[in-house]
Subunit: 732 residues, 2 copies
Amino acid sequence: MNRASDRVFFALLSIVVGTGCIVTRAQQLPGATPNPQASPAATIASVAPQPLARNLGRDEFTLTTDEGMWLLNDFPSKQLQKLHGFAPSKEWLEHVQLGAVRFAGGSSGSFVSNAGLLMTNHHCASRCIEQLSTAQRDYVKSGFSAKESKDELRCPNIEVNELVAISDITEQVNGATLGRSGAEYHAASKSIQAKIEKDCATSSELRCDVVSLYRGGRYHLYKYRRFQDVRLVFAPEFVAAFFGGDPDNFMFPRYDFDVAFMRVYENGRPLVTPNYFPWSLAGPKEGDLTFVAGHPGHSSRELTVAQLEVLRDRSLPDWLLHLAEGRGMLTEFQRRGTEQKRISSHLLFSVENSFKAIQGRVAALHDPAVFAAKVAEENALRERVSAKPELKATALHAWDDIAEAELRFEAIRLPYLMLEQGRGFWSELFDHARRLLRSTTESTKPNEMRLREYTDAQTPVITRQVGSTAPIYDDLEILTLTHSLTKLREELGPDNLLVTRVLGKLSPLELATRLVKGTRLRDVKVRKALLEGGVSAVAASRDPMLELARAIDPEARAVRKDYEDNVEAVVEKSSELIAQARFDILGTNAYPDATGTLRLSFGRVLGYEEGGKFLSPFTDFRHAFDRATGSEPFLLPKSWLDSKSRLDLSTRLNFCSTNDIIGGNSGSPVLDRDAQIVGIVFDGNIHSLGGDYVYEPKRNRAVGVHSAAIIEALDKIYRAKRLVEELQAARP
Amino acid sequence: MNRASDRVFFALLSIVVGTGCIVTRAQQLPGATPNPQASPAATIASVAPQPLARNLGRDEFTLTTDEGMWLLNDFPSKQLQKLHGFAPSKEWLEHVQLGAVRFAGGSSGSFVSNAGLLMTNHHCASRCIEQLSTAQRDYVKSGFSAKESKDELRCPNIEVNELVAISDITEQVNGATLGRSGAEYHAASKSIQAKIEKDCATSSELRCDVVSLYRGGRYHLYKYRRFQDVRLVFAPEFVAAFFGGDPDNFMFPRYDFDVAFMRVYENGRPLVTPNYFPWSLAGPKEGDLTFVAGHPGHSSRELTVAQLEVLRDRSLPDWLLHLAEGRGMLTEFQRRGTEQKRISSHLLFSVENSFKAIQGRVAALHDPAVFAAKVAEENALRERVSAKPELKATALHAWDDIAEAELRFEAIRLPYLMLEQGRGFWSELFDHARRLLRSTTESTKPNEMRLREYTDAQTPVITRQVGSTAPIYDDLEILTLTHSLTKLREELGPDNLLVTRVLGKLSPLELATRLVKGTRLRDVKVRKALLEGGVSAVAASRDPMLELARAIDPEARAVRKDYEDNVEAVVEKSSELIAQARFDILGTNAYPDATGTLRLSFGRVLGYEEGGKFLSPFTDFRHAFDRATGSEPFLLPKSWLDSKSRLDLSTRLNFCSTNDIIGGNSGSPVLDRDAQIVGIVFDGNIHSLGGDYVYEPKRNRAVGVHSAAIIEALDKIYRAKRLVEELQAARP
C-alpha cells in the first residue's frame, strides 16, 4: 500500500519510498533529490498559473498513454479530449481541486458530503484508529462506527488541508538566487521561500508551501485551508481493510475493504461545504474513463542517471536493510502479547509496506531495459545541450555537478542519517525533545535564517505536534530507541567521540530505558510549558531526553549544514539548470515529478496480462470469502462471516485502472467524468512500483475499492445506516 | 569473525560468505560458483601432485606481495625464499599438513600436544559449548575448564579431519566428462567423483573428497583421517572470547581471547600423535615471518564479471536482507529471557557475523576501482583467447555461457533457495526429516546415481548427523520455522500450489507449532530406528515433519535437477574451459580460489594505516581493561577483573599480520619458520572482506590471539595449570 507513517523515521523514508508525507527539504536525501516545499503570498487567487514555457507549443503534443500526474492548473484537457473523448473544463478542475484534500503527514482523501464527511483509506486513518484505542477497547481489531454525530471521536493528531489557491512565483525565487551557488544559493533560496510563505500564511487557518516543480524548473505557491478538528466516523476491522496482509500487498486480484470515513469540524460543528463529490452507486464498468485526484508523494522520473545509480546501489539497499531488521524485530515483538501487537501494528505495517515498495523499485532499477532507457534519454538530452553553445556553457556541467555532489554526500551519509534524520534516535520522545529544543532556539532568529521546519509559516505544525495527545508506549519507545542507538554505535563505530559521549558506559538498552523512563516529555502539559517557556525554560530543563537532544545538536546541525550547502544546494541548482534546458529543447509536454501536492491522473478500468492470462479488472465479495482461511492475514472478521447470506456476493469489491499513481495517492477519490465518486484508490499493483522511474502502460495499475462495494458493506455488514443515508443523500 | 554455523540455512550461506563449511555441490549458488568436493582412491600417498602446467615455467614467476592461499602440495617455496628469506622444505610442509586439522562443518584447528590436544577459536567451538550447556549450567556464560582428563566433555556433533594424502585425479575426471554438456556432463561428473570417493574411503575412519581446484582446472583427491570423539577441554567466557561483540567484529585494534581447547580421543583414550605444533612462549615480534595453515572456505577471485555482477546485484543483497530480518528477529527473541538468550546466542552470532562479512563484500564490489580491475583483467584474457584460433573456438564462448546460466538461474532462484536450500524450512527437525527421507531413498539407488550428499562416501556423515545428541529447542525451532514458512509464502506467493499444499488453512505460526510439537524426530532413538528401518520404515511413518518433507520432495528435487543440469553443469564446464585457457596463456603462477581445503599463507606481523595514523600490529591486556564498560559487548568477565592485579598488563593480546586468509581460516594456527605456534587466527580486519575478490596488501590483515596472551590468561586468569603444563611440555 502506498503509505508510511509520519514518524520522523518514516518521514525521511517516505521521500525515498514516495509515500507522500509532507516533505520538507530538511528531510531530503540525495538520490531522492530535493523537493522543496514551504511558501509566499497571494490572496486566494484563481487557478491561473503562468504557462510553463511561453515560447514552446504547449498544445502541440499528443498523449499516447495514460501516463502522467498532471498539475490541475496545467491539465492537458485538449489532449485528453483526443485520447479519451472528454475534456475537463476549468470549473470541473476547480471543483476537483477543492474536493480532493490532503492529510498533513501524507496521503489523500475527499469530501463526500456537504456536512464535511471525508473518505480515505483505512490504512491512512489507522494511526488515528490506533491512537484512539486502548487495551480494553481496540478499534483496530473491532472496527468503529459512530451511531450518532456525538459518537464521532476526535483524532489526536490529524490535520486536513484543502488547496484553495496556486500561484506562480518562479521569477521571485529565481531572482533571489540568480548568480549564487553553494551555501549562498542555499541561504538565498531558503530566505526567499520563508518570506514568501510567511507573507502568504496570514492566519493560523492557512498553510502556505512553496512547491518546486520540475526540480526547480518552476516554483508555485500552494495555499491551503487547514482543518485540525477531524473526527473518526467509521472504520472497518483491520483484517477486512487489509485482507491478505503483506503477501497480497501491492498485488492484484485483491479483496480489501480499505476505506474509512472521518468528518471535518469547524467551531465544534460539522463543516458545511459545497466542495464535495457526489456518490455513484453503480460505480465504474470495464473500459470507463476514471480520474484520480490526490497527492502522489514523490517520484524520480526526472532524476539523472548518477542519482538513479545512487538510489539503486546505496540509498535503497541501505533502507531495505534497515527495514528488514526492523521488520524482524517488530514481528517478534508482536509475539510477546496482545498489547504489544496492538501498539505496534501500524508501525509494522509501515515497515512492511515500505519494504515491499522499495524492493519493487530496486528491481525496476536493476531491469536492464529500464536503466538503459534512462541512460539513453539522458545522453540524448546532453547531446542536444552540447549542440547549443549557450546551453553548453551554462548547463552541460550540471550532470557532472550532481554526480559529484552525490559522491560528496556518500562521505557524510552515515552521520547525516544518524544524527539529523532520526536513524540514530528512533523515538517519538526524542522527536519531541528535538522539536522543543530547536523550535525555541530557532524562534529567536530572523524568520529567513531559521531551519526551514521552524519558520513562522510552520508554527501551526509545531503547535499541533507539541500538543498531540497521541499515546506514547514505553515498551515500543525502548524497543526502537535501543535498536537505533545500537545502529548509531554500529555505523559510526564504538570509538566515535559522539557515540562515546552519548552512551558513556551504558549499553543501548540501558540508556534507552533510562531515557524513556526518566523523561517527562510524554506529558502534553510539560511539553506545552517548555514551548511557551522558550529558550530559557528549555535550557533550564534537566529532562534526560532534552539533554540528549542538546548534547548531539552541534554535530547534528554541522552535518546538516554541510549537507545543505555542499550537497543539496548543488543538486538543486543543477537540477534547475537541467529542467530549464529540458524546457528549452523538448518543450513542456510533460508533468513534473510528484511533490506531495495535488495532481490529477486519468485512465481506464482495464485488466492486464499476468502469468499468461488476462486478469479481469474486477474482484467480488464471493472470491473474498473463498480466499479466507480463518487465519491472519487471510482472516475475514466475524461481521463479514455473519452477514454473508445477506450480501449480494457478486457485488464488485476491488478494481484496477490504468491511472498513473504513486505512494501518497492512497485515499484518493476515483472519479468519473461527472466528478462522481466511483471508488477509492488504496494501492498500486506490483508493476506500479517501477513507476517511480517509468510508467509502464501495459501492466501498471492503480487498485481501488469499488463504490458499490462500499455501500453494500456499510449497509449489509456494518449496518451503518446513518452513513449510507448521508452518502446517498449526496447523490447529485 | 570468519565462521558460520553448520545449519543447513547457513551451510548455503557459508558458500556465499566463504565461511569454510564443508561445501557440497548441492549447496552451490551461482554467482558463488561451483566448488565440487567429494572423491576416489589412492593409498595414503605422499604429497606429490602433478605439476599444474607442465608446459609452463612454474618456477619463473616472482612474488611481490603476501597474497595467496597456496596449496601445500604446490607451495612456492623458491619464491618465498626470495621474498622472505625462508623456503619451507618438503618435510616442513608435510608436518604442517598433518598438524593443521579441519573441523567438519567449517573452520580450522591444530594439534598442540602429543596427547591429541587441539586448539581452535572459541567461536568455532561455541556450538559444542552451547550444546553441552543447560539452563542451570551455562558454559557459554561461565566458560569451561576440565580439571582432569575425566572432566573433559564430549561434543555432541563435532568431527575433526586430518589430511593424510592428496592425489591428482584430473585426467580421470576430465576423461569421464569429455565431450559432454548439460545434464550429461553433470551425470558423468557426479558419477566419476562418487566412484573415486567410494573407492578411496575404504573404512569409516576415512573421508575422501574430490576437490575441484582452479574452478575445474585441476581435480585433486583429498583423503582424511576422521575423528569423531572430540571433547571440550577449555573455553573462556563468551564475553572474553568475543569482547567488543558485533561492533568490534572484523575490526582492529582488537582485544578478544578467542581460543578454546579440545582433545581428540581414539578408542576412549587421548590420541597419541607426533603431528603437533610446539608452543612458542615468546610469540611473534613486529616484522616476523608468519604462516597460517588452515581451511579458507571460499573465495571468488576467479569468478567472471557476470558472476560478480550477480553476486553484487542479486545474491549478496538478497542474503543481506534475509540476515537483517533474522537478526532483528533473534535480537528481540533474546530479550524474552535468559534461556532464550542462551539457546540462540550462537545463531545470532552466526547471523551478525555473516551480515557484516557480506556487507564488506558488497562494498568491495561497489568499489569502482575493484570492479574496473576485474573487468580489465577479464577483457585482457578474453582478448588473448580471441587471438589464439584454437582457444577462440573452444573457450571464448565460456564467458557468455556462464552469463546465460546465471540468467537462467535467476528464473529458478527463489524456488531453489526455498525448497532445496532450506530457506523455506529453517528448522533442525526438518533437516532431520529430509535427511531420513532422502538417505533411505537414495541408498536404494546405485552409488553413482544418488544425490551427492548421500553417496557411500558420505555415510559416516549421515550417521553422525542422525545420531547427534545436540539439543533441539522447541521455542527456537518454532521461531525459525515460522519465519521461513512466512518467507516461503511471501516469495512464492500465497496462491502458489505448493504453498497452499504446505499451509492449507493454517498460518505459518500454527503450522510450525503443530509440526514442532507433533514430531518425534528430536528423539535420537526414533531417528536411528527410521534410518535403520530404511525406505519402508520412513514410508510408514506418519510423523508430521516427515510428511512435510515427503510432500515437498518432488518439487524440491525437480528444481534441484533443473539447477544442476542447466545452471551448475554449464558454469562448471565453462569455468573449466576458462581455467584451462588461463593456464595456457598466463601460466600457473597462481593459487586456486579457496575450496574449504587446506592452504598455507605467509606474511609478516605488520600494522597499517587507518584514519591517517599507523596502527601498531599489537594490542595488550591493559587496553582491554581500559575499553571495558561493564556492559555487553564491552563486558570483561569477573575472572578477568578479579585477576587484573596478577596479570602482566603489557602482555600482547591480539596481533595482525599480512597473511591472506578468509572465512574458514578461523582457528588456524599461526606458525613461525620453525612451525611453532605463535598465535591463532580468529578474524580478518575490515579490509580483508574484499579479499573475496582481491587481496589488498596495504591494509588486508589477519587478526590473531598472541601465543603469550594464551599462556598468560590460562595461567593467571583461569588457573588452568594442567593445560599450561601440557602446552609447555610441548615445547620443542
